[in-house]
Amino acid sequence: MRLFSRTLLALSVLSLVACLILAGCPKPAAPPATAPPASPVAPTAAAPTGQPFVIGAIFSVTGPGAPLGEPEKATAQMVEQKVNSEGGINGRPLKIIIEDDATEESKAVLAAKKLIEQDKVLAIIGPTMSGTTLACVKDCTTTGTPMVSCAASAKITNPIAERKWILSSAQTDVLAVQRLLDYLKAKKISNVAIICDSNAFGQSGAEQLKKQLPAAGIKIVDEEQFLTKDTSMVAQLTKIKAKKPGATICWGTNPGPAVVAKNAKSLGLTMPMFMSHGIANKKFIELAGPAAEGVIFPAGALLVVGELDPSNPQKAVLAKYAADYQAFANAPANTFGGHAYDALQILIAALKVAGDDRAKLCAELEKTKNHVGVGGTFNLSPSDHSGLTKDAFALVTIKDGAWKMVK
C-alpha cells in the first residue's frame, strides 16, 4: 500500500511536469535571453584583445516591465557579440554586464551600486523604466558614472543642472505629447479626458498632458488613474463617459491600456481613443483584440518602417536593426529594444574617442550630432541630454490588427 502510493505520487509528479512542459511548448518565440544562437556573422576582423571596455546594463527582464526589458537585454547581447566579432572597440573587446531589476526601484538601485562599485563599469545602459531610472540617478550622479537610460520620462534628463551624468535614448513624453497635440489641434478636438497609469511612466505623461494641453487651449474635463495590474477600469471609464469628452487619452504600459481599451469598448464609448508610445508593441494588439482597432498613438518609426519614404535617412537604420534583431533573437524587433540599441551605439561611438575616462566619456556623449538611430536623429548637447525632436515620433493607428501610419 505504502509502495503503491509512492509510485502513484511519482507518477503524478511526472505527468504534471509533462503537462506543464507541454503547456509551455506552443509559446512562440522563447525568451531570447536564455540561449543566444551562435554568431550569424563570421568574424571579419582580428579578435579583440586586451582589457575589455566594461559597460553595465540594468533592464527589467522580469516583472511588469519585462516585455520592454527582454528585447533590451537581447539587443545588448546582440550588439556585444557583433562589436566583438568585428574587432571590438579600438581593438579592445566590449563587455556588457547585464543586471535584472525585476521592475523594482530598490533592485535597480542595488544593481547600479553593484555595477559601479564592484564591476567598476565605465557607463550604465538603462534602466528600462522611468521609475527605476529615476531611482538610479543619485548613485550615478554622485559617483560620476554616465548613464544612458532607455526610459521615456522627461524628468530623467531634466532639470539638466541636476542631470550632468544622465542621458536618455528614448523619445521623451514631452515630444510624444507635442506630437499628439498637433493632431488634436488639426482635428479641432477641444476637450479631452485623461486616464493614466499610476506608475512613473503614466504619471510623467499625465504631467505633460496637464501642462501642454491647457496651454494649447484644450480642456481636460476629467482625470483618472489606474494601477498597472488592475483588473477592471470600468469605474474610471464610467466617470469619463459621463463627462462626454471629445476624446480620451490613456497613458500607460501594458497590460493596463489594453484593459482600458477593452473596457471602453464594452461600455460603448465611441469617442476617439489616444494612447502613448507605451503600447508600441504587438502584445497590445494581441491583448486588446478588436478593442485595439482605431486607437491612435505616437510611436517610433520602427512600427511603420515599410511606409516610410525611401529618402528618410532612418529607414535603412531601422531595416537593419529589425533584420539583425530577428536573426539574433528569432523575434520581431520592437521600439524598446531599439532604445537599448541607440544607447549602445551612441556610447560605443563615444568610447572610441574617450577611452577609459568617465568624465571624458560623458563629454563625448554630449557631442553626439546627427546620429541616426532607431528612435530618431540624436543631437545631444550639454543642455539637451535627450537630443530628439517631435519628428522622432510617427503617429500610428491600429487597423485590422496591424500598425498604419496616420498621415
Binding site: C19, A23, G24, E70, F226, K229
Partner: protein, 296 residues
C-alpha cells in the same frame, strides 16, 4: 451623479467581487482544514488563467474541456503542494507553514515565468465580446459567466460540505481533528482534499476572469491579496463570510473609484485595505465571524 453610473459601479463591483469571493473561499477551505493561511492562493488563480489560455487559445481545445483540464491540473498542483511541503512539516508551528506557503508562491511564479514568459495572455470571452446594457450600465457577457459560475460553485461547495459524507468528514476535521481521527476519519486525506479543492476553486476563478483582465505570471499576487482581504473581512474560517467579504471588497473598490472626488483616483486598492484595517481594529473576528478562543 446619474443612476446609471451608480448602477455601473455596483454591477462592476459585484462581478469583480465574485472573483475575490471565490479566492476568499479558497483561503477559507484550507484555513478550516489546517489553520494555515495559504499565500500561494493567488498563484493558483494565475495558473488557472494561464493554463486556460494555453489549452483554449493555443491548443484549440473546446472551452469546457480546456476549463476542466486547467482546473484539474491546478487541483493536482494543490495536492502536490500539500504532499511535498505541508505534510512533511505537519508538526512544525503554523507560522513556519505559512512561510512555506509564501515560498511555494514564489516558486510557482518563477515556474510560470519560465514556462509562459513575462508577457500577459488574453483569452477570448466565452460568449462574445458584446455587452448587455441595463438602464444605461454596461455588462460584458463575460460578467454573466463570472457571476453564474461563482454562484454555481458556492452552491455546490455548500452542498458538498452539508450533504456528502466526505464533506461532512472535512467539516469534522475542521471542528476537531482529534475527535475526527478517533471517529476513523483520515485527517491527512481530508487536508489533502482541502488543498485540491481550494486550488481548483481558485483556478476556476482565474480562468473565468482571464478574458476580462488577461493572465500573466505575476497577476495572481494582487488577486490573492484581495481574496485574502475578503476572507478576513468576512471572518476567517466562515465560508459564507468569505463570499460576503469578497463581494464587499469588489463593491467598495469600484464605488470608491467612482464616488471619490477628482484627484483621489488611483487609490482604489487603498479603499479595500482601509476597510480591512478597520475591520481588524473594530471586529477582529470579521463581520460574520464568531468570537472564538484558541483551541487547545
Amino acid at each position: 451623479m446619474l443612476f446609471s453610473e451608480i448602477l455601473q459601479y455596483l454591477l462592476t463591483g459585484l462581478t469583480v467581487g465574485c472573483v475575490y469571493a471565490l479566492v476568499a473561499l479558497g483561503f477559507t477551505i484550507i484555513y478550516n482544514a489546517t489553520g494555515i493561511i495559504n499565500f500561494a492562493q493567488g498563484e493558483f488563480v494565475m495558473l488557472g488563467g494561464l493554463l486556460l489560455s494555453t489549452f483554449f487559445v493555443v491548443a484549440h481545445l473546446p472551452l469546457v474541456l480546456a476549463l476542466l483540464i486547467a482546473v484539474l491540473i491546478v487541483a493536482a498542483i494543490g495536492l502536490l503542494m500539500e504532499r511535498l511541503t505541508i505534510r512533511p512539516l505537519r508538526n512544525a508551528p503554523l507560522v513556519t507553514l505559512v512561510i512555506v506557503t509564501v515560498g511555494v508562491s514564489v516558486i510557482l511564479r518563477g515556474v510560470a515565468k519560465l514556462i509562459w514568459g513575462a508577457d500577459a495572455f488574453s483569452v477570448p470571452a466565452f460568449s462574445g465580446e458584446s455587452s448587455l446594457f441595463i438602464a444605461g450600465a454596461a455588462v460584458q457577457m463575460q460578467y454573466l459567466w463570472v457571476v453564474g459560475l461563482a454562484a454555481l460553485v458556492v452552491v455546490s461547495v455548500r452542498l458538498f460540505f452539508d450533504r456528502t459524507l466526505i464533506g461532512k468528514a472535512m467539516q469534522a476535521c475542521a471542528i476537531n481533528p482529534e475527535a475526527a481521527r478517533l471517529a476513523g476519519i483520515s485527517v491527512e486525506r481530508m487536508v489533502q482534499l482541502s488543498f485540491a479543492l481550494s486550488a481548483g476553486l481558485s483556478a476556476l476563478a482565474g480562468a473565468v476572469i482571464s478574458p476580462l483582465t488577461f493572465a500573466a505570471y505575476d497577476s495572481g499576487t494582487i488577486l490573492g491579496l484581495k481574496g485574502f482581504s475578503g476572507a478576513i473581512i468576512g471572518g476567517l474560517g466562515n465560508g459564507l463570510g468569505a463570499i460576503f467579504g469578497g463581494i464587499l471588497v469588489g463593491l467598495l473598490e469600484n464605488l470608491g473609484v467612482g464616488l471619490a472626488p477628482q484627484g483621489a483616483a488611483g487609490y482604489q486598492d487603498a479603499f479595500a485595505f482601509v476597510i480591512l484595517l478597520l475591520v481588524l481594529f473594530l471586529r477582529p473576528s470579521g463581520l460574520l465571524g464568531k468570537r472564538t478562543t484558541e483551541g487547545v
